[in-house]
Amino acid sequence: MDDLLSKIAGGYNYIAYITIMMIGLYAVIAKRNLVKKIIGMSIFQTAIILFYISIGAKKGATIPILMHDHGPEAAEHAIKAADYINPLPHVLMLTAIVVAVATLGVALSLAVKVYQRYGTLEEPEIQDQINKS
């Protein structure tokens, strides 16, 4: 048991990401307002992006932009993979962030459209209006 607890405490960052993710999930399930649900969805998305970026981090490494010289000294710099942070998660998540904002735009457009039709963003009230008609 103690072994498991120390393992969990060592991965404090994962606990934090899971907590953020669950805050987003709670908002999606329990909140009745559509804009609140959209905010919850975005929080969920960013928690996953956070997790991806964290697995690329390396201790004692620098940012993935090469230091390079021109001319004859260029050959003296041998590039070692251990000196640079893993760039692959960055690439995947960079595009994911831009796609996330585009889909956020679509979600907000849907919310505006729902408001134009029903005059409210609260889910129970929309449900009432659908049941009446």
């Binding site: 060592g10 399930i29 993935p64 760039p87 831009v98 735009g105």
Partner: protein
């Protein structure tokens, strides 16, 4: 409902925390994610593409097919916003409002009547409460050109520093959004009309796909920029470097136009009147 959600979320938290106990520690250089594919990218990126920023090299060269469809998704999201919200007025509103620019007085003209002659001091507005702030307007007018120049720098300098098509495109779009917020949407409409905006949004994707089509026509793989070497009279490494620049420009144009397309439709709820 709320209690049930809370129990569900806590249960889920417990399972995920239990699963996370076996994950490698933060910053572990020997974690599986950092040992298989990424050493190749780090060691070979500069040799292959002459691009010091590895993220740009992987984004626009090694994984360019993936990035092409990400750009397409952004474009599709812009089109979806347009189709969801945009509508056209076919009937005249009950009254037209005009603001006298020097004094700030608002004039109401009922339906069926028109102002006689040309009035340069009167500007059409949609709501009489729309505020006008000269400080914000002048400050934004000074700021916007600098933001746009910085955005262009970010796009073309993405090979050597953080940045690239996505960031530069978003900053360019944000400068247009700033124009639309500080004045009104009509001013931004005069700068970049709706049809031009939509064409630019598609043009960005077309530039990206076009580069791929050219490499295909030159008898190489889709988006293999090394094939452009003969066309431009440079060696293969520099050709890949320039190919990255071309697709970054395409991405920047597509993202810029799409961001503004989404903003103008959401902010005016599809009417494209005054906006915020």
């Amino acid at each position: 409902m709320k209690k049930l959600a809370l129990i569900l979320v806590l249960l889920c938290w417990g399972f995920l925390a239990f699963a996370a106990a076996d994950f490698p520690r933060l910053g572990d250089p020997n974690s599986p994610a950092s040992t298989h594919l990424s050493p190749y990218f780090i060691e070979k990126a500069y040799e292959d593409t002459a691009t010091p920023n590895i993220v740009t090299a992987v984004l626009a060269d090694y994984r360019s097919y993936d990035t092409m469809f990400e750009t397409t998704v952004v474009f599709a999201a812009g089109v979806a916003c347009f189709l969801l919200l945009r509508f056209y007025h076919f009937s005249e509103p009950p009254s037209h409002l005009y603001r006298h620019k020097p004094s700030g007085t608002v004039i109401q003209v009922p339906r069926g009547y028109r102002l006689k002659g040309e009035h340069t001091e009167l500007e059409p507005i949609d709501r009489d409460w729309a505020p006008k702030d000269p400080i914000v307007e002048v400050a934004s007018r000074i700021l916007i050109p600098f933001i746009q120049i910085f955005a262009l720098y970010v796009v073309v300098h993405g090979h050597h520093s953080p940045g690239g098509g996505f960031q530069g495109g978003v900053i360019l779009g944000a400068s247009l959004v700033l124009l639309a917020i500080s004045r009104d949407l009509r001013t931004a409409q005069a700068t970049l009309g709706e049809s031009k905006n939509s064409i630019l949004s598609a043009l960005g994707v077309l530039i990206y796909v076009g580069v791929g089509a050219v490499t295909l026509a030159l008898g190489s793989n889709f988006l293999d920029y090394a094939a452009l070497a003969g066309l431009m009279g440079v060696d293969q490494v520099i050709a890949r470097n320039l190919g990255i620049l071309f697709v970054e420009v395409g991405v920047a144009v597509a993202v810029m136009a799409t961001m503004f397309l989404i903003y103008r439709n959401v902010a005016s709820a599809g009417a494209l009147d005054e906006g915020l």
